[in-house]
């Protein structure tokens, strides 16, 4: 399937603004946690409002663990997990058509994906025990016994390569790629799937990469209409076809390096808008100033229509439809990014406004009134972060993956309340160097 461009118009602002905030959050949410004999850790929240089960399993097998010449391996390995499973004992092999039919007949949803850090599986099923058991058994085969058929990979590779070439014709894609490369240099966070790297990827490499997925490294988050013992059975079933072997510590990944110099990258492009990215490496999720930076970023460019950037770039000057800032905290430092699009002849003006807003904010921090407004929204709106199982499982997985305390959501609003103007100013001054940022502008004349 492919998405037809939406025929509707709307959303006054892109959702990107809230990306950082969405990763967090709740109060009085009892998370049960236990370790299984195979070494997997389970994080469980019972939620009976709707008769459904959501599960997410995360492994330390994101793209940062790919061999360098095979950029994209984690992602395409995940993409190939629904293309077929091997025979096992009395269970016959299944090809992708058979898998698709089986999932559709169960009315369940299952998927795999890879980001920079995590290799993840997600399952959503109705809670009916018989259905759930069948869904878990099917999921287990895809998790543990993928067949990685060569013929399917040959066509998938062509399809992905064609999509890459298409994406290269878009100014936004080019700008994002130039930006990632400049911010992360040789670090795997900046690695980019290319036609050449796709050529280097074989199904044998996928099997080898898949072998990294072991129960002892798994974090399993489960939310839904089931009890603890059922949750443990579900966890057990999901991992039942992975090889249970000891997990040696994984090799260290090189650290993200700070930028030595400012960099200005301009690429002429025949487009109606110039795409602008400004930023640098930001913070790891474990950064002690996480809350100060989260609250501060709400004020700077994360808080929708009321942020300083939106006020100055969009509301006061009409320069763009969307402008935002975000931190992308990860196991290592993800990027701090400001992004916008504007008519090419206004790009220089927009960049100037953004730089001034940023420099002022880093130098002076927020006002007391801005801080109060941010807390009103973040603290007051806390229940909105937990009002569906889909959001709950995201929060639980965040806690599990980032080694956050089980009462993280119970203390979240207090941690936000505790942030002061001076904390934000100090954190931004420590983390950001406006004079040493990357600026990418793709579009317009050189």
């Amino acid at each position: 399937m492919l998405a037809r461009p939406s025929l509707s118009i709307g959303l006054r602002l892109l959702a990107a603004c809230l990306a950082v905030m969405a990763a967090t959050a709740h109060a009085a949410l009892p998370i049960e946690h236990w370790s299984r004999p195979d070494g997997a850790e389970v994080f469980f929240v019972e939620s009976r409002a709707v008769p459904i089960i959501d599960a997410q399993i995360d492994f330390d097998a994101g793209s940062r663990r790919e061999p360098a010449p095979m950029a994209g391996l984690a992602s395409v390995t995940a993409g190939m997990l629904d293309k077929g499973v091997r025979a096992d004992g009395n269970a016959p092999p299944m090809n992708e058509d058979a898998l698709d039919d089986a999932w559709a007949d169960l009315g369940a949803q299952f998927g795999a994906g890879a980001g920079n850090d995590r290799f993840s599986f997600t399952l959503r099923s109705l809670a009916d025990p018989a259905l759930l058991a069948r869904a878990a058994a099917l999921a287990a085969r895809q998790i543990g016994e993928p067949s990685f058929p060569d013929a399917v990979w040959t066509t998938e590779r062509q399809r992905i390569a064609a999509a890459l070439r298409e994406a290269e014709t878009r100014p936004g894609t080019r700008a994002a790629r130039l930006y990632d490369k400049a911010v992360f240099g040789q670090h795997p966070y900046g690695s980019e799937t290319t036609e050449a790297s796709l050529q280097a990827i074989t199904t044998a490499a996928m099997r080898e990469f898949h072998a990294r997925l072991r129960p002892c490294g798994a974090k399993i988050s489960i939310v839904g209409a089931l009890d603890r013992s059922q949750a443990d059975q579900l966890a057990s079933a999901l991992l039942s076809r992975l090889k249970a072997q000891a997990c040696a510590p994984l090799p260290a990944v090189p650290r993200v390096q700070p930028l030595a110099l400012a960099q200005d990258i301009r690429q002429p492009f025949k487009s109606a808008q110039a795409h602008v990215y400004i930023g640098q490496p930001g913070i790891a999720r474990a950064d002690p100033d996480y809350f100060a930076l989260t609250v501060g970023n709400y004020i700077l460019g994360g808080g929708g229509f009321v942020s300083r950037l939106t006020q100055q770039v969009r509301e006061q000057r009409g320069l763009s439809y969307s402008v935002y800032s975000s931190f992308d905290p990860a196991l290592d430092a993800g990027a701090f990014t400001i992004g916008l699009q504007t008519r090419p002849d206004q790009a220089a003006q927009a960049v100037g406004v953004v730089r001034e807003v940023l420099a002022t904010f880093v130098a002076d921090g927020p006002t007391e009134a801005e801080l109060k407004a941010a807390k009103d929204n973040l603290v007051g709106g806390f229940p909105l972060r937990l009002d569906s199982n889909a959001k709950l499982v995201g929060n639980v997985a965040n806690i599990a993956w980032n080694h956050l305390p089980l009462d993280y959501l119970d203390t979240w609003t207090a941690r936000v309340e505790a942030v002061g103007v001076a904390d934000i100013r100090a954190a931004f001054q420590r983390v950001l160097q406006p004079e040493r940022m990357v600026t990418v502008v793709v579009g317009g004349a050189s």
Binding site: P5, W103, A104, A162, S271, G304, S320
Partner: protein
């Protein structure tokens, strides 16, 4: 955040009905039955309340039955422009203050415009619901701003069009396709508006559209969440109910003349991959009432809905399985879509990206070939059952989000359907047979009702200076 689209297939939703057959025959039913009530306020506005005690939050959503299809030539996009200006103030709530207050309440807010409607929403902790109802009711009744604000926001909307459309070849293809399919129907025009029209908007154009269509009898409020129905009803009377009642202006029918032959065009744009989109005119569902649902057109609309799901309703559905996989692959991606409900006329879309080594014409033939195969052979029971199971499960999964429940309730109201329309529709779809699929597949996919648009890739030349329609039609007045 979600955009409702004029062409979104109605999502399974609403109160539970036991699934029949297949895996879902077991008691997989929502533990709590959603409670929905609909009222008419004293000034004629509709109020729809869905009680769902998932979490202590609530959604306040205002729906106005006015969208791009209520515009006339020369002011295309004015409904959307007004949507933007609704954030620009009232006599009591000055510019910028609306969003500041919603944020201070811990709320999230946005708005959306389609051909058929305009919607506004805030999602808040439930103890702040009354506050956002007051704010929304105030701007519905008293939207007001200085012209300088309008001129700045017009620039923002021009940027929005550049982002969504000008730099997106497939968006431009679909815009051109709608302009070719429809001659008299207002669906001819893009929702965001032609760039030249945006540039020429006046503040008075916006105010005229607002005065004309933003009247209580043309609007509905949907409240969903952990609420008390009587309390919400009282608050609604005290807020929305205070807007002066006025007659909804008569709507001109603007019927589309019959199409009597294929239309075909090429759209040349910088791209790497070609793309082909076919639009077949088709009937729709006008009502779910027992008599109306039995009409031949309504029965066909139900069958076409199922046909689109059989072709492309789940991972592994026919189009993808046959055309985008395996040794005979002709496509890198395929798409079938059809929505049985809309305020205007309907089409069934087939579209796709030709795989390398294959032409758009080959893909076009292959897509039609899959429909022809169903016309000849029908579909087997297991396949039909599978599609119905997907809808049933989707209905239950959708209950996880209070926001999407509110969206579906509003969308149904806009189309003149009852609050439980999605559930009723599901029950109706259960009755569709393989023979009905054969029948619609054989009758609606000929040449005479077809419009085909093909994206023909042009190479990019980055050395050339920008010169686009957007630059030629740049709005004149920029205010800083």
């Amino acid at each position: 955040m979600v955009v409702a689209t004029a062409h979104a297939v109605a999502q399974p939703t609403g109160p539970d009905t036991p699934p029949s057959g297949s895996a879902l025959a077991s008691p997989a039913r929502p533990a709590v039955r959603a409670e929905t009530q609909q009222f008419t306020l004293s000034n004629g506005m509709t109020l729809i309340v869905r009680v769902d005690r998932r979490a202590p939050t609530a959604v306040n959503m205002l729906w106005v039955r006015a969208g791009a299809m209520d515009e006339v030539d020369g002011i295309s996009g004015i409904a959307h422009m007004l949507e933007h200006m609704m954030f620009k103030g009232t006599p009591d709530v000055p510019v910028g203050e609306f969003s500041r207050r919603v944020a201070a309440l811990g709320g999230r807010e946005n708005a959306f415009t389609t051909a058929d409607y305009t919607g506004y929403y805030q999602q808040v902790p439930v103890n702040r619901l009354q506050d956002v109802m007051k704010l929304e009711a105030d701007r519905f009744a008293h939207n007001s701003w200085p012209d300088a604000e309008f001129l700045k926001e017009r620039e923002v909307v021009a940027e929005e069009r550049r982002m969504r459309t000008e730099d997106n070849p497939r968006s431009r293809l679909y815009e051109a396709l709608s302009a070719q399919i429809w001659t008299a129907s207002p669906y001819h025009r893009p929702v965001v508006g032609w760039m030249g029209d945006i540039a020429a908007f006046t503040a008075e154009d916006v105010r005229d559209f607002y005065r004309r269509w933003y009247v209580p009898a043309n609007a509905a409020v949907v409240i969903a969440g952990d609420v008390d129905v009587q309390q919400v009803r009282d608050w609604a009377e005290q807020t929305y109910g205070r807007a002066s009642s006025a007659a909804v202006p008569a709507r001109k029918p603007r019927p589309e003349p019959p199409q009597v032959g294929m239309r075909r065009f090429d759209f040349r744009a910088p791209a790497d991959q070609a793309y082909v989109a076919m639009a077949f005119r088709a009937p729709g569902l006008e009502s779910l009432e027992p008599d109306a649902i039995k009409t031949p057109d309504s029965q066909d609309a139900l069958a076409l809905t199922m046909l689109s799901a059989v072709l492309d309703g789940y991972s592994g559905a026919r189009l993808g399985r046959t055309l985008a996989r395996g040794p005979k692959r002709v496509a890198d991606g395929v798409d079938a879509s059809y929505s049985p409900v809309a305020r205007g006329p309907r089409v069934f879309y087939l579209a796709g990206i030709p795989a390398q080594g294959h032409t758009a014409a080959q893909l076009e033939a292959a897509l039609r070939g899959e429909v022809a195969r169903i016309a000849r052979e029908g579909v087997d029971e297991a396949e039909l059952r599978r599609v119905k199971t997907q809808w049933r499960a989707g209905e239950i999964f959708q209950r996880d989000s209070v926001f999407s429940q509110a969206r579906d309730l509003g969308s149904n109201w806009v189309q003149g359907l009852p609050p439980d329309a999605d559930s009723q529709l599901l029950d109706r779809l259960e009755t569709v047979t393989s023979d009905q699929l054969k029948s619609v597949a054989s009758r609606y996919f000929g040449d005479d009702q077809l419009t085909v648009g093909t994206l023909v890739p042009l190479p990019r030349d980055p050395a050339k200076l920008p010169r686009t329609q957007a630059d030629e039609a740049r709005p004149g007045a920029v205010v800083h």
